[in-house]
């Protein structure tokens, strides 16, 4: 993997996108950049747009509390970790990994504590 190559390509793309065709040099790379920058015209599908508009008109947005958003974000993180472990090429930023590790440690400590209480005859009799 060439970081220098990645830097060079990035600059070429910026030039190409900024200047239009001809900004990316010559050769096969220029062909690929040219093809890529021309390959994605914004598409317009008015029928789909109207169908989705109707779906949205009948949609009743449910505003979520900050707690619900936090839970949802945690669920997203778990899902991404699952994708990463399944080898689906999902990238995990270090805060996600650190957060997941912290949750695991806390869960393990809590489990050990509960088990100890459960195994303690005095605690069981009480």
């Amino acid at each position: 993997m060439s970081h220098k190559g990645a830097d060079h390509l990035s600059e070429s793309i910026d030039r190409w996108l900024g200047a239009g065709a001809g900004g990316g040099g010559v050769g096969h790379l220029a062909d690929v950049l040219g093809a890529l920058s021309d390959a994605f015209p914004e598409v317009s599908d008015e029928l789909a747009k109207e169908r989705v508009r109707r779906r949205l008109a009948g949609f009743n947005p449910r505003s979520r509390t900050p707690q619900e958003l936090l839970v949802e974000r945690a669920a997203d993180s778990v899902e991404r970790i699952g994708r990463s472990l399944a080898g689906e090429g999902e990238y995990l930023p270090w805060p996600t990994i650190a957060g997941a590790a912290a949750v695991l440690v806390v869960a393990a400590v809590a489990l050990a504590w509960l088990r100890r209480r459960g195994l303690d005859p005095a605690a069981t009799e009480a």
């Binding site: 994605f40 989705v52 949609f59």
Partner: protein, 183 residues
């Protein structure tokens, strides 16, 4: 494709207006529908899935509108992020639910608005892009379709600018290999 300061300011005003009055959301919808629909279509190659994911993206946008806070990043970047997450979830569904691009029906008269599907000139390139790993495909589409800078793509994908450069580099290298000398 890239937004000027004036466009960003206009976008901020539109978001704030929609936060005050949901009826004003239609202006955001009209502004971004084609972008999000196209982005999802180029990702998955299916009109049905593009429509469903786009609808789900705007539903999420409506729900989260009260919690959205303006940080100078285009609103479209947030929509791209939601659409990307929904696409990633779709990939985890059973294979029989995955919709592949179908050839336009020979008997059906194409609507004028759908002619772009019939006239698609870049089928080979689009097919090669769909074969890329999802993260490379996403980076390529955000760079070339959405015209985003590495920093903006990084915000959408939750990665560093350097990581995006490498992803695009790998993606373009794979495309060059895939397409040989005649893109």
């Amino acid at each position: 494709m890239r937004k000027t300061e004036a466009e960003l300011e206009e976008e901020r005003l539109l978001v704030e207006a929609a936060q005050r009055d949901h009826a004003a959301f239609h202006r955001l919808y009209d502004r971004y529908f084609d972008q999000i629909y196209s982005y999802v279509y180029y990702h998955c190659g299916s009109r049905e899935q593009a429509e469903d994911v786009t609808a789900a993206t705007f539903q999420r946008a409506l729900e989260d509108l009260p919690n959205f806070s303006w940080r100078g990043v285009p609103y479209s970047a947030w929509l791209y992020r939601v659409a990307s997450n929904l696409l990633a979830r779709d990939r985890r569904r059973p294979a029989w639910l995955e919709l592949k691009e179908e050839a336009p029906l020979a008997s059906a008269e194409p609507e004028p608005d759908e002619l772009w599907l019939v006239k698609e000139q870049d089928g080979e390139l689009h097919e090669a892009i769909r074969k890329l790993p999802p993260d490379q495909r996403q980076a390529i589409l955000l760079r070339f379709f959405a015209g985003m800078r590495n920093r903006e793509v990084g915000k959408v994908m939750n990665r560093s600018e350097g990581a995006i450069k490498l992803l695009v580099f790998r993606g373009v290298s794979n495309l060059r290999r895939e397409m040989g000398e005649a893109p």
